[in-house]
Amino acid sequence: MMHLKKQDGWPQYVVIVGCGRLGSMLAGLLSEAGCSVVVIDINESAFDLLTAEFSGFRIVGDAVEIEILRAAKTDRADCLLATTEEDNVNLMVAQVARKIFNVPKVLARVFDPRREGIYREFDIETVSPTNLMAEAFLASLQNRREGQSCV
């Protein structure tokens, strides 16, 4: 299991949208590192994934509704992480956080690598699991080739 060090560098107040495997993991880790964390998910049962380290708040609702983001006090957040399984939800929530709530740091998970480019224009950082995984696979293949060439 991964652990984060308590240090000054972590944002104080983080809103996480989506409490799937990624969202719940980030929520636990950041919570443990001393951040105040609010997690939003449309399904209450999703919160079952949260670990014992999580000490923040949970909000049940659709983050595409601005009221839900308001309830999470997104205007005071230092950072918002959009981690749901739906690209369009992540991209919309991220833009609302950036443009309407002026959240300084916003990250969105985007599965479709072809869309990443457009959203860079909107001043939103995206992370593509597809790209990351492709890189990891290729790096591993390359290590293997380099390993063999050493023999």
């Binding site: 595409v64 601005i66 369009n88 833009q95 072809r114 224009e121």
Partner: protein
């Protein structure tokens, strides 16, 4: 005009028929394959099955040459993505989106959608205008609803009828901006006399609106 519509159901069907009758060149993108096949037999349009917010699907639908893209799905996030991708990637000059959550009307405009409309808002507005108080017409919210302009009929027996405007204590956040009488428009002053049968143009903050109506017509909204 070249139009791409993303959506489903009756709204899409009837809209397509109307567009077709005007001679528009139409492409439709539907998420459901069976519905797409079915629709393709009933309308004069290029009907595609796919994800309307996927860039390659929009491109295939002719986004590079489209004049308008309309997004009518039941998910606001998808409608936003369709419009933004059409506009940013394919330079579609005009994008129109249905918003399901009325509060997103404002959000969409802020995020670059040319026209965002909420059927909830439209129906609510129609109800406010017509149902219940036929004496009140054209309630128009301005400045994000911080001011409303409405046209109110003054009946013969209304408390405001046959009075000088100055004798009526209107709340501070409201004024009578015009009087329609016998086809003429009168810009009222303090000494202007109100008559039964006048139609009054009332400019008011929403919180004062009920009080103005009570003073003038005796009614409430």
């Amino acid at each position: 005009m070249r139009v791409i519509v993303v959506g489903s159901g009756k709204l899409l069907y009837y809209l397509t028929r109307q567009f077709a009758s005007k001679g528009y060149v139409i492409s439709l993108i539907l998420a459901d394959e069976a519905e797409a096949t079915n629709l393709s037999r009933r309308v004069r349009a290029l009907v595609m099955h796919g994800n309307g917010s996927a860039p390659h699907v929009l491109e295939e639908a002719g986004a590079r040459r489209a004049d308008v893209v309309v997004a009518l799905t039941p998910k606001d996030q998808d409608n936003l993505a369709v419009c933004q991708i059409a506009h940013k990637m394919f330079r579609v000059p005009r994008t129109v989106a249905l918003v399901n959550d009325p509060q997103n009307e404002e959000v969409f405009r802020e995020l670059g959608v040319s026209v965002a409309f909420s059927s909830t808002q439209i129906i609510a507005r129609i109800l406010e205008e017509r149902a219940g108080f036929e004496d009140i017409a054209n309630l128009i919210p301005l400045a994000e609803g911080r001011v409303t302009i409405s046209e109110v009929a003054l009946r013969e027996d209304a408390p405001g009828a046959d009075k000088n405007l100055r004798d009526l204590t209107l709340p501070e956040g409201a004024l009578v901006g015009g009087i329609l009488r016998d086809g003429n428009v009168i810009v009222p002053r303090g000494e202007t006399f109100l008559r039964g049968g006048d139609r009054l143009i009332i400019i008011s903050r929403p919180d004062c609106y009920d009080r103005v109506l009570r003073v003038l017509t005796g009614g409430e909204s």
